[in-house]
Each structure stands twice: as C-alpha cells, then as structure tokens.
C-alpha cells in the first residue's frame, strides 16, 4: 500500500529577486508524479509569484509565471493565498491569476483553485500537514 501524505509547499518570496520561487515550482511539478496530497501556499512576498500580468522583458530573465496555470493539469488544485499578505501589499484577489482545475468528480467542470484565507485559517491548514516544505 503506497503511503499518501499531505505535502504543503509554502512560498514566501517573490519570483525574480531570488531563485527560491522557480526552484520551488520545479519541486512541485516533480512532486506531482508521486501522487501525494499536495497544496501550495503563498504568504509574505510569495503572493507576488502569482500576480497577474508579469513581464520580465526589462530584466532579461525567464517569465515562468505561465507555469502556474499548468498546476491544474497536474491535479494540484489547493492553492492558498494569505489574506493579510495581500492586504499588506495593497493587493486584492483580482490581482491574482485566476488559476483553475477541471473537477473529475463533477463532469470536468472548471473550478477555481485559489482560495484567499486568513493567517488563522492557514495555521490550521498547516497544522494538518505531514510535510511542509518552505521556500
């Protein structure tokens, strides 16, 4: 019987200032092959990873923000964003990419993956995890 654990990937840093964001995404995509219960969380400057309309033309770096749209195809549909982290940065849910997944239990209907939650709710969700990888 294969072991299934609850894995949370906690993203705390913005996309291009340091390498953590892209290398975290690389872990998440590999992890999808292991059929674990996966969730992604964005807190602090990590919320910038999934803001709309990213453009890296001026900095000569690869714009990897489109990759987040593929998460749904990898059956990753639990994406939590800290409400407080958004507010502290003057952002709202409308600034966040509308990431979706197709629900196989509901005639493959397209549903939103992103949930904005309070830090209080987040700490409860985190306490339910078996493994929390923070980047």
């Amino acid at each position: 019987m294969p072991i299934t654990k609850k894995f949370m990937y906690l993203n705390r840093k913005s996309s291009y200032g340091t390498v953590y964001a892209i290398e975290s995404l690389e872990v998440v995509l590999i992890a999808a092959a292991f059929e674990q219960d996966v969730s992604l969380t964005f807190v602090d400057d990590g919320v910038y990873q999934i803001v709309n309309g990213q453009n890296t033309d001026g900095i000569g770096m690869k714009n990897f923000s489109k990759t987040y749209h593929a998460l749904g195809d990898y059956d990753i549909n639990k994406i939590y964003v800290s409400k407080e982290s958004l507010e502290e940065r003057g952002l709202t849910k409308d600034d966040i990419m509308p990431l979706v997944y197709e629900d196989e239990d509901d005639d493959w209907e397209e549903k939103p993956s992103v949930k904005v939650v309070s830090n209080g709710e987040l700490s409860k969700i985190m306490s339910e995890q078996d493994v929390c990888l923070s980047f």
Binding site: K5, F7, Y20, E23, I30, C132
Partner: protein, 132 residues
C-alpha cells in the same frame, strides 16, 4: 525516528548548513536515523570538493562528508541535479554528458533528482528544512 534534512543555502555565506549539521549530529547522538540529506538551491555548493577554507576555520564540506549514522553506516547525501548543473556543480558522469572538462562533487555526495526529496518526505517521520 527517521529524519531527513533539506539544506537550501551554501556554506559560509549562510549559517543554514552549519545549523543543519549540528542538528543532524545531535539527532544521531540521540539515536535517530538520518534517512537522507538533500542539498537544494545554493545548498548544492556544500558538496564542492574544491572548498578550501582558511586553516583556522571549519571545513563545512568535509564535516558533511564525514558525518555517519550512530552505527557508522553511511548517510545518503543527495545534491539536486538541476540546481547543481545551473550552478556549475558536476560529478564525473554529468561532466562527460555535458562535455565539460572537470568535475567538483565530493565523492561522499551523489547527484540525483528532486524525486529523492519527495521520497525523503514520504519515507521519513520528519523532514526538516534549513534556509532563509
């Protein structure tokens, strides 16, 4: 308890690797088993066999290389291949594959994929992450 460790920062620049080492040593002393140490991000630089610190300082690479389980068995020390290649860290086989004329991974470490990190998370009782 079975413990795995993830190290996200390079040696000397950052204390993460030192702290992780002290943690691992203390855990082994208490009778725990280290299932795997996984080096990611700049943490891959902890595996460079060309690291030469001043004589009066610790050699972080050698400390890791020499760390063993309480019964003297080897500890699995894995360097992420994608993170390593991106930063110019290669073993003999990667050097050959990529047509590069040298290699710098210490023989106590092995290069492998991110799947090893996920597997460590699945197989261990605890996965402890060190870094910023």
């Amino acid at each position: 308890m079975k413990i795995s460790i993830q190290i996200n920062e390079g040696p000397y620049q950052h204390q993460a690797s030192d702290t992780a080492y002290q943690f691992a040593k203390a855990a082994i002393k208490k009778g725990h088993e280290i299932f795997r140490v996984f080096f990611y991000h700049d943490g891959v630089n902890n595996a460079s066999r060309f690291t030469i610190p001043p004589q009066d300082d610790r050699n972080v690479v050698n400390l890791w290389a020499e760390l063993k389980q309480s019964d003297g068995a080897e500890i699995d020390k894995v360097v992420c291949v994608a993170a390593a290649l991106r930063r110019g860290m290669l073993d003999e086989s990667e050097a050959k594959k990529n047509g590069v004329d040298g290699n710098n991974i210490h023989p106590a470490f092995r290069i492998s994929g991110l799947g090893q990190l996920i597997e460590a998370g699945i197989q261990s009782d605890r996965l402890v992450v060190f870094g910023d």
